[in-house]
Amino acid sequence: MRWRRLRTLLVREVRATLRDPFTMASLIAVPVMALLAFSYVLATDVEHLALGVYDASASPASRRLVAELGASDAFDPRPFATRGALEEALVAGDVGVGLVIPPDFERDLLDRAPGAPPPELQLLLDGAETVVAGNAETFLRAIVARTGGDLVSGQAWGPSGHAAPTGLRTVTRVLFNPRLEGTPFMVAGTFGFVLSFLTTLITAVSIVSERLTGTFDQLQLTPATSAEILLGKLLPLGAVFAFDVIVMMAVAGLLFGVWPKGNVLFFLGVSSYYVVTSLSLGLIFSATSTTAAEAVQKTVLFSVPLVQLSGFAFPLRSMPAVVQWFAEALPATHYIRICRSIYMRGEGPLSMGGDLLLILVFGVALVWLAARTLERRA
């Protein structure tokens, strides 16, 4: 490898990249858009969800309960005149949750004989929307339990008269992310998404189009070795994506207040190394494809499971054991784990040695494989 030849190749690549303003713009715009799209959407709570209410009781107690539900910010109660109307709205998908208050609600609540069961509210949930239904149930339970207690304890005879509650008190503390917000989780994961998917896609396309126009063959006729051609391709694009990482960090920090808790330089270092890994993968795809469309299809077919199984959006540990082993064999899984460790828990390199080592091995293996592929095509 000769530095002079490599420098010539680098200058050529940088010029070629800069000459196309559209590509440059999308190299910056697509990652930022991915960051914006992803960071807002993961919700662990419920906000202003339409709640259909059929209040057969129409009593002060039931009205108070509905008012409490409305005041919670979690639900926007919408009254329905009959149970049938509420059920229809649920089938049509107009409301995701329905609450049925029985006619005897107030009487059962306030004049309950000792030992009698408490009044029962019926909750109808649209199970077709699994996450919404699960979250809504948890929230409604909490609000109803609190309001129910208030309604009863407001009475003169006090709480001693009704059935004794059971159970243990739970004191909860959440580490690293006290309000369990989805944004930092998704921000940290988006680095993995962008650096795994977009990097591969862009290299795959760029080299195939060079092959189509014939400039790639000319390149291979020069005295440059395939390792030099490889580095000449990887380094400029790698620099662009390293810049992307900085832009994304700034956007996430300034817009959402999500800064890495760990060492920024360490994060940048790992990310830059990982970029080279994914770029090599894109190079392999493009070297084995004859048309750009084929390279794109290959990348997409490979990237969809990569993104879905890497733990970016869906919990890894919920997957079947076989799939988990497969996921461990993807570099993206380890990079995303490292991102979250640095971003959210503020860990240093020592406590994630295993993941770092694997990323290192993947990187060396893929770069070597890419160089071999280029040689064979020459």
Binding site: F22, S26, V30, M33, A34, A37, Y40, V41, A43, T44, D45, E47, A92, G93, P118, L121, Q122, L123, D126, G127, A128, E129, T130, V131, N135, A142, A145, G149, L151, A164, P165, T166, G167, L168, R169, T170, V171, T172, V174, L175, N177, R179, L180, G182, V205, A292, Q297, V304, Q308, A313, F314, P315, R317, S318, M319, R337, R340, S341, R345, M352
Partner: protein, 384 residues
């Protein structure tokens, strides 16, 4: 009348040519067949939002039969692996800090005495770096604790902090939840019901944009322009075969989910077919629009990704749009996939028919009309 007939025959001729090209495109056919199978396996077998095999740590400061029973009851919820035991609070916190465990349950000294007296209390430490799982398992454990019967005198339970953890007195009012359409809240049903939406978005957007740009690059587009056909006829003719392929993909998705996982559409099949047409047309139109803006395949790829990505994220096809913040939720309404997934889930899971999906159909038609107007404006015959 004569003009219309000529138009139809022009469109048909272009469609015929396009279909014969497509038939020999092995990459395209491979993608059409491989993608549905891959997605079926992914969403049918691999992916779920439901916590499972959660790793947790228990610090029991005073082991007793009662504390062991509490641990066993938590484990019996089925979401957890067998617990790991630690000797000190620090050691437990360390596990959480390294991501080795999601949850630390601390059973205090005098737990047995307090619980029997009705004053029992446990502490829960959650890993906030995994908010989705932590929120869920936190509430599962709190629920177990709330219903834990220590066998002694019982006492009022006070609410804990945080809205999602806020479990408190169960006594005054009881709540009986019933989950319609999907009683066990299986994520598989949620995903597979909208599988066709994901597949068709990928297919229609990338096929039409890449196909048209590829022709422009290879020069065959100019040849077609020199024919006595108008640009809009060419575009329509090019899109017709894709509509046919789309219905094939829809059939694969439905048959796969039905035969493989027993999830057949519960509602009207006719409504499903009708709903799909404006969605496919709108998605293809986006592809055409993309191809009319860009010059090279690379640019087409970037711009297509630029459309597919927010479609998948903001439409609610994977992540429920109902829980997104105001503003973001409304932006998602301009994405065709939003309306298609709403319609798909109404038909497939809730057993809906035309009465339930007329609004999504109208919305899709409106989006298609708007896109068509944009294309007409962009698509002046031009060379190069």
């Amino acid at each position: 009348m004569e003009g219309l007939r000529r138009r139809v025959s022009n469109v048909w001729a272009v469609a015929y040519r396009e279909a014969s090209v497509m038939r020999h495109d092995k990459t395209f056919l491979g993608a059409v067949l491989v993608q549905p199978v891959m997605m079926l396996l992914l969403y049918g077998l691999a992916i779920s939002n439901e916590p499972a095999n959660v790793r947790w740590v228990v610090l029991d400061r005073e082991p007793s039969a009662l504390s062991r029973r509490l641990v066993a009851e938590v484990e019996a919820t089925g979401y957890f692996e067998p617990p790991q035991w630690v000797e000190s609070y620090r050691a437990g916190e360390q596990r959480l800090a390294h991501g080795d465990a999601t949850l630390l349950l601390v059973i205090p000294k005098d737990f047995r005495r307090d619980a029997l007296a009705g004053r029992g209390e446990v502490q829960l430490l959650l890993d906030g770096a995994d908010p989705l799982i932590s929120a869920r398992v936190g509430s599962y454990v709190a629920q177990v604790a709330l219903h834990f019967d220590a066998g002694g005198r019982r006492l009022e339970v006070r609410s804990a902090q945080g809205p999602s953890m806020g479990w408190s007195a169960p006594a005054a009012v009881s709540l009986r939840p019933r989950f319609w359409f999907n009683p066990t809240l299986r994520d598989r049903d949620f995903f597979l019901a909208a599988l066709a939406g994901m597949l068709l978005t990928n297919l229609c957007l990338s096929a039409s944009s890449l196909g048209l740009v590829g022709e422009r690059e290879s020069g065959t587009y100019e040849q077609t322009l020199s024919l006595p056909t108008s640009p809009i006829e060419i575009v329509l003719g090019k899109l017709l075969p894709y509509v046919a392929v789309s219905y094939g993909v829809l059939a694969i998705a439905i048959l796969g989910a039905g035969l493989g996982f027993g999830i057949w559409p519960r509602g009207s099949w006719l409504a499903l077919g009708v709903l799909t047409l404006p969605f496919v047309l709108a998605s293809l139109a986006i592809g055409v629009l993309v191809s009319s803006v860009v010059r090279t395949t690379a640019q087409a790829v970037f711009l297509t990704v630029f459309f597919i990505l927010p479609s998948m994220v903001l439409s609610g096809v994977m992540i429920p749009y109902q829980l997104m913040p105001n503003g973001i939720r409304q932006i998602g309404a301009v994405v065709p996939l939003r309306w298609y997934q709403i319609g798909l889930r109404r038909i497939v899971l809730r057993g809906g028919g035309f009465a339930e999906v007329w609004l999504p159909i109208l919305a899709l038609l409106a989006i298609f009309a708007a896109l068509l107007a944009l294309i007409r404006w962009r698509l002046k015959p031009r060379l190069g």
